[in-house]
């Protein structure tokens, strides 16, 4: 059952090339996200953007980096082969349904006094479930050796 530990990372030139491009493109996006988030924090500290028309622009500044990361992810999806795309689709479908269950369930709990949570949690739930589902499928050897 635990085939994960056995040759899980064996790749060929096709994969290595795709992985290299993805790491480069996503890395630039994540670095820009870090820079913009830090700069945003400093700007709040220096200028206290509590009011005025610029507060929305400053609040959304890191989104340019997020969009760059989305672009990198889309390019990766277009580069992978048909089986890898199927794996992404299946894993993401289960993660999406799981996220719907969890977020709707917690939404009902908020109505009876549970703490209100930020929208940032939604991607956290989706991303975490995606990882869990992916590794669960690897452990059972669904498409992996």
């Amino acid at each position: 059952m635990f085939r994960f530990w056995k040759n899980a990372s064996s790749t060929n030139a096709f994969e290595r090339e795709n992985n290299k491009k993805y790491r480069w493109e996503m890395g630039v996006g994540m670095l820009l996200y870090f820079i913009l988030t830090v700069a945003q924090g400093w700007s709040y500290h220096l200028w206290q953007w509590d009011e005025g028309p610029w507060r929305v622009a400053v609040a959304l500044a890191p989104m340019t980096a997020i969009l760059l990361c989305v672009w990198a992810g889309w390019r990766m999806y277009r580069r992978v082969d048909e089986l890898q795309r199927r794996i992404i689709n299946e894993d993401m479908t289960v993660a999406a349904f799981g996220t719907a269950v969890i977020t709707f369930g917690y939404g009902f709990l908020e109505q009876v006094g549970f703490p209100r949570l930020s929208m940032f949690w939604v991607w956290g739930v989706l991303g975490s479930l995606w990882i869990i589902v992916h590794w669960a499928n690897r452990l059972i050897g669904r498409y992996h050796p």
Binding site: T11, N12, F14, E82, L83, Q84, Y143, H144, P145
Partner: protein, 62 residues
Amino acid sequence: MNNALRELRKDEGWSQADLADRLDVSRQTVNAIETGKYDPSLPLAFKIAGLFGKRIEDIFSP
């Protein structure tokens, strides 16, 4: 589906990585096809058949 991909690959002296590079797919895909965990799409099946100079039905069978 059953397939003779592993035998054909070994006859050529190729590793799974070698075959995957010739087909522009990942080694994982070649392994999944050989072990019956994944059936290739029609374009990929044609590509495989063309690479070995055989018909699709000579390589894949129900």
